[in-house]
Every structure is written in structure tokens, then in C-alpha cells.
């Protein structure tokens, strides 16, 4: 609706409601920042912080899969690049942390763009399988590389995050609460960026390219360029997520960024609504409920999630169909076969 809606605000009056709706995903997450006032329990802070990290992964995945329609299983591997960069150089040099983080994020971004370049050659599941291979390659290298601490990984202590001055407020990320606030701030920003991208012309261009690349080209869109932009954004986001992920566990090990984790992100985003502005927030809530709050056996969680995913896809494809119009055909197909059964 983007541009149009803004114009309509001048003309029609009903537009305000629409704008509220569109502002909500950007503004509402601010609620997170008051959590420390609601509860002081470190347990709750770490619960929500852990969930917000998954929101970040989902936000990153949402841009490549939700906005431009390319399922990538490599987001966590991309994040690993940034995280390991910071971990390795942080341990061996005394470079300013801020610089390390920025460069790390840029590295993830570049890697993501390169990975995306493949997508101009390979579509659909070919691309997905390439991302699987990419993730495997990264973890194989990390597991055999002494500098990266092989399978033991490297420490990534929060105590090395300097005190951040936010006006009068001092943010000390060393404490659970401080780290929570840091994560929350980063998430609010990332989420706002992701949402604004979706509303921007570029966002509509991404969806145009996703919906019908041929048509998009015929109208003067450049699919390659637009995909590149999407990959850059999601790569950068993955880098940020990767670094925070590492700080959350105060550790980098290959298993933190392994394929099964990437598959978890895929399941979360499918439940949360692929391509939906709300996807990151909803995914975070699902993770919070299922993986933090719910008192169930460890090996049940994944199974439960899988079950729900299947049910969602089968029973309410619209929940995820948002970004993948073709799934509506699957729905139609299903309806058709039903009517056949009825007639028969």
C-alpha cells in the first residue's frame, strides 16, 4: 500500500486506521523496553532475550524468503561468519569492539550478497540446496579450524561489551537485564527497518519480483538488483543476530549455527506468517512459549513444533500463504478434489 496509502491520507479519512495498523509493527515492540519495569527477574529477562534472538533470525530470513521468495537455510551460517570474526579478532587483537562488530556485520552482508548472486542462476529449491551446502561448508571449516577453536569454540564474554551511554541511562550489558535491554533495542531497530523496507518502494519491488519476475522485468524492474538489495539487508541482519546470539551464550561453537537450528528458524517463520510484517514478533512469542516457558521434555519441543507446522500448512495455508501465492493453488486444488469427492 505504501505510497498509495500515504497519498490517500490526504484524500480519504479512513486512511488513519490503516496507518495505525501499519505503524503498529514498528511501534508496538517498544513495549519490550518496559519489561524491566514489569519484572525484575533475570530468568524472565533471559527468556525474552533468548526469544528476541530468534525474532532477529526470523526477521533476517523473512527478507530473503518472505519478501523475495528464496528459502535460505544459510542465515545462521551467515551469522556465524560475523560472530566468529568478532570472537577471533576480539581474542587476538585489541581492536575496538564497535569496529569489529561493524566489519563483522559487513562480512555477513557480503557473504549473503555472494550467496544471493547464485540465485540469479538457480531458482527455487536449487537455491535452497545451495544454501544447505553453504551452511555445511561453514560448519565443516569451523570444526576443523584451530583458530576458530574447532568443536570447543571460543568464549564470547559479555563482560567485554563496554558500558553504552544512552543519554542519562547507562546500559551495562554484562548483567542479564542489561543484555536484555541491549537485545530489545537492537530488535526494535531491526524490526522497524524490516517493516519499513517492506512498506518502501524497494519492498514492493521485492514482492513484485517474487510474485512474477517476468512481469517485473517487462515493467523495468531489475530482479537481480532487487534480490541483491534483499540479500544485503538480510545478510546484515543475520550478522547482527549472529553476534548477539554469540553474546547471549557468551560462546561461539559450530553447533549454535548448525542446520537444525536453521530448520527451527524455518518452522518458526512458517508459523509466524511468511512475509508478514509481524513474523519476527510472532515467531519470538512462539519460541518464548514453546522453548522457554513451556515445561515439557526437551525432545518433545521440536516434534510439537513440527506437528503444528504441518497442521498450519494443511489447515490454514492462508496463514503462511501470504508470501507464496502459488500455495493458494494448492488450496484450490484441494478444494477441487473435495468437490470431486462430493460429486462422486
Amino acid at each position: 500500500m505504501g505510497v498509495l496509502a500515504i497519498a490517500e491520507r490526504r484524500s480519504t479519512s479512513s486512511a488513519t486506521g490503516k496507518d495505525l495498523r501499519r505503524a503498529a509493527p514498528i511501534v508496538l515492540p517498544l513495549v519490550l523496553l518496559v519489561l524491566p519495569l514489569v519484572t525484575s527477574s533475570p530468568q524472565h529477562h533471559s527468556w525474552v532475550a533468548a526469544s528476541l534472538l530468534w525474532s532477529l533470525w526470523v526477521a533476517s530470513l523473512n527478507i530473503v524468503w518472505g519478501y523475495v521468495g528464496l528459502l535460505s537455510v544459510a542465515q545462521l551460517a551467515l551469522g556465524a561468519i560475523a560472530a566468529y570474526w568478532v570472537a577471533i579478532l576480539g581474542a587476538r587483537t585489541d581492536t575496538n569492539l564497535g569496529v569489529l562488530v561493524v566489519v563483522g556485520v559487513l562480512l555477513s552482508m557480503v557473504a549473503s550478497v555472494l550467496l544471493g548472486a547464485v540465485s540469479t542462476r538457480l531458482k527455487g529449491f536449487y537455491f535452497t540446496i545451495i544454501t544447505i551446502a553453504f551452511a555445511l561448508t561453514v560448519s565443516t571449516i569451523l570444526m576443523n579450524w584451530d583458530v576458530a577453536g574447532r568443536t570447543t569454540g571460543l568464549m564470547f564474554l559479555r563482560s567485554e561489551i563496554p558500558v553504552i551511554h544512552l543519554g542519562p541511562y547507562e546500559l551495562i550489558a554484562t548483567t542479564t537485564e542489561g543484555f536484555y535491554v541491549l537485545t530489545a533495542i537492537v530488535f526494535v531497530l531491526a524490526n522497524a527497518i524490516a517493516a519499513l523496507v517492506l512498506y518502501s518502494r524497494a519492498g514492493r519491488a521485492m514482492r513484485a519480483v517474487r510474485d512474477d519476475p517476468q512481469l517485473a522485468r517487462s515493467l523495468g524492474f531489475s530482479p537481480a538488483a532487487i534480490r541483491t538489495l534483499a540479500f544485503a539487508l538480510s545478510g546484515a541482519l543475520a550478522g547482527v543476530a549472529g553476534i548477539l546470539h554469540a553474546y547471549s551464550f557468551q560462546l561461539v561453537v559450530p553447533e549454535l549455527f548448525a542446520i537444525d537450528q536453521a530448520l527451527l528458524a524455518v518452522m518458526l517463520i512458517v508459523l509466524a506468517g511468511l512475509g508478514n510484517v509481524w513474523a519476527p514478533v510472532i515467531a519470538g512469542i512462539i519460541y518464548l512459549l514453546l522453548y522457554q516457558v513451556a515445561p515439557i521434555d526437551g525432545d518433545l519441543r521440536a516434534g510439537l513444533l513440527g506437528l503444528v507446522v504441518i497442521l498450519v500448512i494443511l489447515l490454514l495455508p492462508r496463514g503462511i500463504v501470504d508470501a507464496v501465492p502459488a500455495w493458494r493453488r494448492a488450496w484450490a486444488h484441494r478444494a477441487a478434489s473435495h468437490s470431486e469427492e462430493a460429486s462422486a
Binding site: 495498523r21 564474554l157 514482492r207 521434555d297
Partner: protein, 398 residues
Amino acid sequence: MANRSHPRSRDLRLAGLGMTIMVLLLGLTACASDSGDEGGELRIAAVLPLTGPAAEIGAAWKAGIEIAEDVINDNGGLTIDGNKVDIKVKIVDDESTPAGAQRVIQELLNEDYQLFFGPSTSANFQTAFATLKDDERRLVLSPAQAAEPFLTTGGRLFKTQPSQSPEALAGFAQQFADYLKPETVAILQPQDPGGDGVAQNLAKGFEEAGVDVVYNNQVPADTRDFLPIVSAIRNTDPDLVITPYLDSVGGPFLQQAAQVGYVDTKFANYGGSSAQVAEAPQISEFTYMLATRAPDNPDDEVLAEFRAAYEEKFGHAPKPIDTYALMVYDPILMLAQAVEDAGTSTDIAAIAEALREVTDWKGKALPFSFDEKGLIQLETMQLATLRDGETTYTDFVP
């Protein structure tokens, strides 16, 4: 996109979201910290991998803890400055993942546990301990190899599994060298922290002991086809083959070695158990070095009490993998002893100090003590050798 679905459904989604958040916040405030130390019992928290990849070992650790708990309470519990208290171990599952470890640690801190056992796997320990290490009120025992770099003189961390420092493993290598007299050795280890340590440091040790390392490789823990590796090793024709320390990797390896008739060289192992040759009886000679004692050795009177307690609790004799149970059993008993000595269940510094000074405690399945840095010092270790169906056990001083 939200604007894809009908506006109404989107409003619903919004409302739903808002409500969920509110419910959550309420929930969070509601179940806010319900800590509170029940008097009359010593609370210990054990963080173990009860589900996930490491669940098998986790089960053994759990068994060890439960037996220790029973032994203490059946003997009337502890006497902490005058009054009798029972020991109460809360065992939580870290799901073999750092995420799980992180969650349960916060849970336990929320319930204000002070004495911790575990997490026992490297990544999980590092994650958890990063949270605990600067907290003066927590004392941690862990078998995790990753604990070693954190040990500090007078610290509150104790490592219950023998060191994997180059020096330590050099000692073990020397032991193997003296005991088995090889000239060349091949080493195969799983690709995990434990395997890394053994592969690198044991190899160094052998070189120092004048044994030539002709093959040294690591395989992913989920490797299933060992044939090419077997033949690669066989090709180097070593006098001794060090098998993976994990039975779940060493077993298949030996089994497939036996399949192709590669059975007449000497196989040895540090950290594994007799379970490795269960599927490969043709192996002519298999030696394994135990940081504890072999729990499946019926004739070991040192373990008599442990075996009895174990059978009473679980209705069957200890399995080879219960060597891990032993690695917990004694440290827990020792911790209890230390608390008694310190005469307090809350003064962590005192307990830590006492733990270093404990010399005599109930159980005594393995004689050991903690050094100044909190690293376990075993007085004896055991070498077990399976040769044509017969097992011979040899104690030695590391």
C-alpha cells in the same frame, strides 16, 4: 503480508498479538521468583543432558547422583552445625543444547540454588559458567573438559574429570607405552571437544614417550562407515590403535575393524569402556584406561558398596557406561562431606575451602582429592585389558 489477508483478520491478528503480549507480561509477573530455601535440607542442582545427543551419558550421571543422594540420606543425612539435614538434589535437563543450559541455569538461579553439578558437556558448561563465574554465591562441580581453563587457585569451580592438559595426557600416553610397549600408534577420535583434546595431547604424549604416531584423525560423531578409515589405519600397520573415547563411535569402529579381520593388533582407549568390544568379540586385545574403576567388574570390592546401592536402586548391575556414574557419585559424596566440615550450607567460600581439604568421606569408590585450582587428582586409575574373553584389571598411580 498483513495487508494480504482481509483487514478484519488483520485486526484480529493485531488484537491477538496485543493480548498475547499482555498475557505474557501478566504471566511473567505472576510466576515471579518463587525462591525460598526450605530449611532442613541441603539443596544441590544438577544440570545434565537427559535428552538430546548426550542423553545416554546423561542417564549415567543421573544414576550416580541419585545413588549418592540415597547413600547419604539412608545414612541419616548430614549434620550441619548440630542439626540433621537431608541432601536434596534437583536434576534438570539441559537438552544437550546451550539454549537448554542457559534456560535451566536461569531457572535454578531464580530458585537461588548455590551448589551446582554440571552442566557436563563442554558448550553447555561454557554457556552456563559464563553466567555463574562472577557470582560469589555459587559453587560449581563439573566433569566438562571445557571447565579446565576456568580453574583458578582458591576458586569456586571444581573439575571432576581428569585433566586433558598436555602434561596429564602425556602421563597417560607414557602409561600406555609402558604397559603395551608399542613402537607405532594410530589415533582415531571423534570430532568433539573431548576428541580434540585426546587427539592433540595424547599424540604429543606418545611422541615424547618415543612412540611414533603414524595416523591421527578425527571423525564426525555421526560417522557410520569406518571401513576406509580402518583400511587407512591398517595400511600404516601400527602396533597400537587408540580408539575413539566415545563408545558410540569406538564401538562401530571396532566392529567394522573386526569385520574385515583387523583384529590382531592391540587396541586401546582412554575414556571408553568394555562396551566398545561388545559387538566385536574377535578383537584379540583391547585395553581401556579408566579415570574411575570399571563399574561392570563384579569382583572389585572397592566398588562393592556402589554396586550394591546401584542394584538396589535400579534392579540390575551397573553397565560399562556407568563409569560416568562413578565420576559423579564420589564428588557428590565429597561435596556433602565438605558441607559438613564447613558446618554451613550457605557460606560458599568456606565450603570450597573445605572441599579442597576433604581427605576422607563416605563411599570412597575412587580415592582422590582436589588440588588448589580445584582440579581432581586421582590417587589411582585403572587399566582393564580384555584378552580372549578374560578381563584383567590393573590399578596404577597416574
